[in-house]
């Protein structure tokens, strides 16, 4: 029983969950700047969450127990997923369950209950959002898995920590499969986290909302948990992509120096990725909904090309 | 050496000389003059080779096989140029084509001859590719010469299909070079045919079989093998008649030459492997299918030039089959067939050109009574079809007989198939021929000024070859057979 390791894992997860609203705020602040506005401060999401936790919960009389339970399940799934993804250090005890398929499973669990909650009350917005979300994720899932399998084939293991440690050890190698998988995963991440060009996180127009539609009926602490879970999901995808493809800086052992370096590295990477995301969201226009399948097919094609490059160029019979 | 350089580069000079000439009559005569000069140089080269043997120098390689085709090319080039001079003058007058556009015709004619001769005499596989592609490019504008929608469509199809085919042939060439890089002392020689032929048994069999498949598909598109033949009927029927004559008579031969050369190298490479007969079997398969399919398609044609282009496809299929059989008798027959087919087919197309002028249309239904209107044209067409269908005493019968004998020797169960195919094609040609030549001539059909001299010359040569192959030609073809199959016939 490695007590310090488990403690570290706990601290890392807490840090993850606590920093998620900050990352979302950073993206929002940059977007505002790019749109020539001053924008909200970086602590605004914390204030919003605080406000929501103290507000009264209003539940429709047509709601079932699922409606009340869903925010907690979704939030728990998000925390479990956050436990699995290495943030600062690579070889934590939680690495034992850090299988990529488990990760995909946790995300699917969250998504499932989110969709159920959307349909539960019986409003048209909720049903519409749930069906859109399911379309997007059913098309994104093959691309995700294909890209992930490409990565795991290189490291010969599906364990996230092993993959990251392998990439760290082998140094800088230009792999075409990684390039394709990176492009594919980025597109999938944009779709799954509900960012432009797939879904607008700031809209409440019937024509355009997917995620917002599903949580439209929530209020008070339920809404707070749902929003927080969405922010954790965004940070999750960001950290996943950064730490797999650009793992330099992540701590390979538990010495305080390397932990500090790991913290500093991930912060710097998140800052840059947030800036890139803000730029992309400002520059791109949201796609019409019937074009989203084409977008996701492109992601699938990129992931497939990554897999093919892996087999053709890097393995060799 | 000088004979070789003259042969290859005179047409290039001709092309450059014809660029500024806008007077149609003058361009026609210049065309004839350059073609005649090239024929003279080719004859001198042939004498040199037959006397002294193979010549390899400065990236060129001339032996009995390709000098035979060089002489054939220049001969048909000359007779067609003689035919084309008054014919194109008449066309320019009736369709009101100005001298400036006729320049394209004459320059491209000489350019086409240049690329073909370069392809035939080069030692470098890469230059062979460049020359065959060049031959395609120089004829594309000629196929669309009349600018009708059908002509443009035919030229587009020709361009795209042959372009893609040739591109695949380039991939095959790259693979051959790749295979050669590992075994040769001097890798730079990897595209030289003589070096490859000498070192063939060291080349990797797997790479060479893949390469040969690409090369067969690529150059086979230009030969007109089924199912890559669909450009051929369109291109040969929509262009001006002299174009049809040279395309049918010459370009197909050059493409087949490329295939045979590469087959020789591939056979050397595969000889020790597990499937030594692969190249030969592929050629036989494609050739046989082409032969049968073309014979069947022939029946459905309603345009006279399309019908004869399918006949060309059929004969090319037969020749491919013959080269695939590999027996010296079959190869000798195939080489003889190349000669007689070119001569007969170009004669037929010349006659067809005159026939379409008489009748004013290319549709078979509307061409009638040629023998009554202009006996020379009628008899020319009749004799031409009789010759191409394989009747004795014409030369085509001789070569087909040799081929059938060889098939009966090695592949007896295929002989009935060949005979059936020959019969089918024969039927197709004669059904249409009968009404065209002997039918009731429509009112007001008048004879045209027709120069039947080239036709007469060609058919006489074919007749001569059918009655008795002269000894020098037999020895010449025997040397070529030795080069291709490695054993003598006579």
């Amino acid at each position: 029983m490695n007590l310090s390791g488990w403690l570290l894992a706990l601290i890392q997860t807490t840090l993850f969950v606590a920093a998620a609203p900050l990352f979302a705020a950073w993206v929002k602040a940059l977007k505002s700047r790019l749109q020539n506005r001053r924008g909200p401060s970086l602590l605004q999401p914390y204030r919003d969450l605080h406000k929501l936790f103290h507000k009264e919960v209003m539940v429709a009389h047509t709601a079932s127990p699922v409606f009340r339970a869903a925010p907690y399940i979704v939030f728990s799934a998000a925390i479990l997923a956050a436990m699995v993804v290495p943030l600062v250090a690579a070889r934590l005890p939680t690495a034992a369950i850090a299988d990529v398929i488990v990760l995909v499973g946790f995300l699917a669990l969250g998504r499932f209950f989110l969709a159920l909650a959307g349909m539960d009350v019986g409003t048209s917005f909720g049903g519409m959002g749930a069906s859109r979300e399911m379309t997007v994720s059913s098309l994104a899932e093959p691309a995700t898995l294909m890209a992930i399998f490409t990565l795991t084939m290189t490291a010969h293991s599906t364990n996230l920590s092993t993959v990251i440690a392998h990439n760290l050890e082998t140094g800088l190698i230009l792999r075409p499969s990684f390039l394709f998988a990176f492009m594919g995963l980025t597109l999938v991440a944009l779709a799954e986290t509900g960012r432009i060009p797939v879904d607008n996180p700031a809209t409440h127009l019937e024509l355009t909302m997917i995620h917002e539609a599903m949580i439209l009926e929530y209020s008070g602490r339920h809404l707070a948990l749902m929003e927080w879970a969405a922010q954790i999901k965004l940070m999750l995808y960001a950290v996943l992509i950064l730490n797999i493809f650009l793992p330099w800086g992540i701590a390979a052992d538990f010495a305080p120096g390397s932990l500090l370096l790991g913290l500093f590295a991930i912060t710097a990477k998140l800052v840059i990725l947030g800036a890139a995301l803000a730029l992309a969201e400002t520059g791109l226009a949201k796609m019409r909904l019937f074009r989203v399948p084409q977008f996701l097919n492109l992601a699938f094609l990129l992931a497939l090309l990554g897999m093919l490059s892996q087999v053709i160029l890097e393995v060799g019979a | 050496m000088s004979a070789l350089l003259l042969t290859v580069f005179l047409p290039l000079l001709g092309m450059l000389a014809l660029i500024p000439v806008t007077n149609i009559a003058a361009a026609g005569w210049l065309n004839v003059a350059f073609s005649a000069a090239t024929l003279g140089a080719a004859a001198a080269l042939a004498f040199q080779i037959l006397g002294a043997g193979t010549m390899t120098a400065h990236g060129f390689h001339v032996d009995a096989f390709n000098v035979y085709l060089v002489v054939l090319t220049t001969l048909v080039g000359l007779t067609t140029a003689v035919f084309s001079r008054p014919y194109m003058a008449h066309v320019a007058a009736t369709r009101r084509i100005k001298g400036r556009r006729m320049r394209v015709y004459h320059t491209m004619y000489q350019g086409f001859l240049f690329t073909m001769l370069l392809a035939l005499t080069t030692n470098n596989l890469g230059v062979l590719w460049v020359a065959v592609e060049g031959a395609t490019l120089s004829t594309v504008l000629l196929v669309s010469f009349y600018r009708t929608p059908e002509a443009i469509e035919a030229a587009w199809k020709y361009f795209i299909l042959c372009g893609v085919g040739i591109a695949l042939a380039l991939f095959g060439t790259v693979l051959v070079y790749f295979a050669a890089q590992h075994v040769l002392v001097d890798p730079e020689q990897g595209l030289s045919w003589t070096t490859l032929h000498a070192q063939a048994r060291h080349l990797d069999p797997t790479v060479m079989s893949i390469a040969f498949i690409f090369l067969l598909v690529g150059y086979g598109t230009k030969v007109g093998l089924f199912p890559l033949h669909s450009w051929l009927p369109d291109a040969h029927s929509e262009g001006p008649t002299p174009m049809s004559a040279v395309l049918s008579g010459l370009l197909l031969n050059v493409a087949l030459y490329a295939v045979v050369r590469l087959k020789v190298v591939t056979d050397g490479a595969l000889a020790a492997g597990e499937r030594p007969e692969l190249a030969g079997h592929l050629l036989m398969g494609f050739g046989l299918v082409t032969f049968l399919a073309a014979g069947l398609f022939l029946h459905r044609q309603r345009d006279i030039k399309r019908m004869f282009s399918y006949s060309s496809i059929e004969h090319m299929g037969l020749m491919t089959f013959a080269f695939g059989v590999g027996h010296p008798l079959a190869t000798f027959g195939a080489l003889l067939h190349m000669l007689v087919h070119s001569l007969t087919k170009s004669a037929i197309f010349v006659t067809v050109g005159h026939a379409t002028h008489i009748a004013g249309t290319q549709s078979i239904e509307h061409i009638r009574g040629l023998i009554r209107t202009q006996p020379a044209v009628g008899w020319g067409l009749l004799l031409g079809v009789v010759a191409i269908a394989g009747f004795p005493p014409f030369g085509v019968f001789t070569s087909e007989f040799l081929l059938l004998s060889a098939t009966m020797h090695d592949w007896p169960w295929l002989t009935p198939t060949l005979l059936v195919g020959l019969a089918v094609a024969f039927a197709g040609l004669f059904i249409n021929l009968h009404t065209m030549v002997y039918g009731k001539a429509p009112e007001g059909q008048k004879p045209v000024k027709a120069n039947m001299l080239p036709v007469a010359v060609h058919l006489l040569i074919v007749l001569w070859l059918g009655l008795s192959v002269p000894p020098f030609l037999a020895r010449w073809l025997d040397q070529a057979t030795l080069l291709i199959t490695g054993s003598h016939l006579l």
Binding site: P176, L308 | L137, L141, E150, E153, Q362
Partner: protein
């Protein structure tokens, strides 16, 4: 074969070849004509870069000339000519709707697998990187062929043809360290003449059938209809 054993230059060659394959897929599905020409120009530039990189790692100076030639021809001159043609034919806003782009893209991926299987028996252990680039270049050739089959516009068919030639050039450069210079010059010259002739053709087609949709070129058929 372990990627870690190759030098950085060879890894770069593999990476750039994979990007060339990506551009040929991009060409396959790109609906806007002008964007197609730009992607084709990028493809030419990438092939030129591969040539230069191979010249660097394999120490064959004559490949630099090839690289310069490719860049000048495929990345600059031919796209410029196509651009000019498109402007003169008034097609620069043209958007071509593709039938079932998903199916076409998946078929393209199947072609990539097929070309790998074809090249697989070529066993040269010391040139293992080469075998894989040979598979990639055959894939680019086949995807270019697919593009020619699927597209209905004459200009995009020609772009497909040119990208097919890019694949061939990639094969020649990466697998055999470039063909002899004479051959390369000849090939480049042929490509240039072909491009010029295509340009001439576009005008002839456009004048005769009032559009560049090659589906309308359908007067000639196998049964030899009578229209003289």
């Amino acid at each position: 074969m372990n990627l870690a054993q190759l030098s950085l230059g060879e890894q770069g060659t593999l990476m750039l070849s994979a990007l060339v394959l990506l551009t040929s897929f991009a060409l396959l599905a790109q609906a806007r004509l002008v964007a197609c020409i730009h992607v084709f120009a990028w493809q030419g530039a990438l092939v030129g870069l591969v040539t230069a990189l191979v010249a660097l790692t394999a120490d064959t100076p004559h490949l630099y000339i090839s690289a310069a030639l490719t860049l000048a021809l495929k990345a600059l001159l031919i796209p410029w000519m196509l651009h000019r043609l498109v402007r003169r034919l008034n097609m620069h806003r043209h958007v071509e709707t593709l039938m079932q782009p998903t199916v076409v893209l998946l078929f393209g991926a199947a072609l990539v697998i097929f070309s790998y299987v074809v090249v697989l028996p070529v066993e040269r252990i010391e040139l293992a990187a080469t075998r894989n680039i040979l598979a990639i270049s055959l894939a680019v050739v086949l995807v270019g062929l697919l593009m020619m089959v699927v597209r209905r516009q004459a200009v995009t068919q020609v772009i497909g043809f040119m990208s097919l030639e890019n694949g061939l050039f990639l094969a020649a450069v990466a697998a055999t360290r470039g063909m002899p210079l004479v051959v390369e010059l000849g090939v480049a010259f042929d490509v240039l003449v072909a491009a010029v002739l295509f340009g001439v053709f576009f005008f002839q087609i456009s004048e005769s059938i009032e559009s560049l949709n090659v589906d309308r070129l359908n007067r000639l058929s196998e049964t030899g209809e009578d229209d003289s």
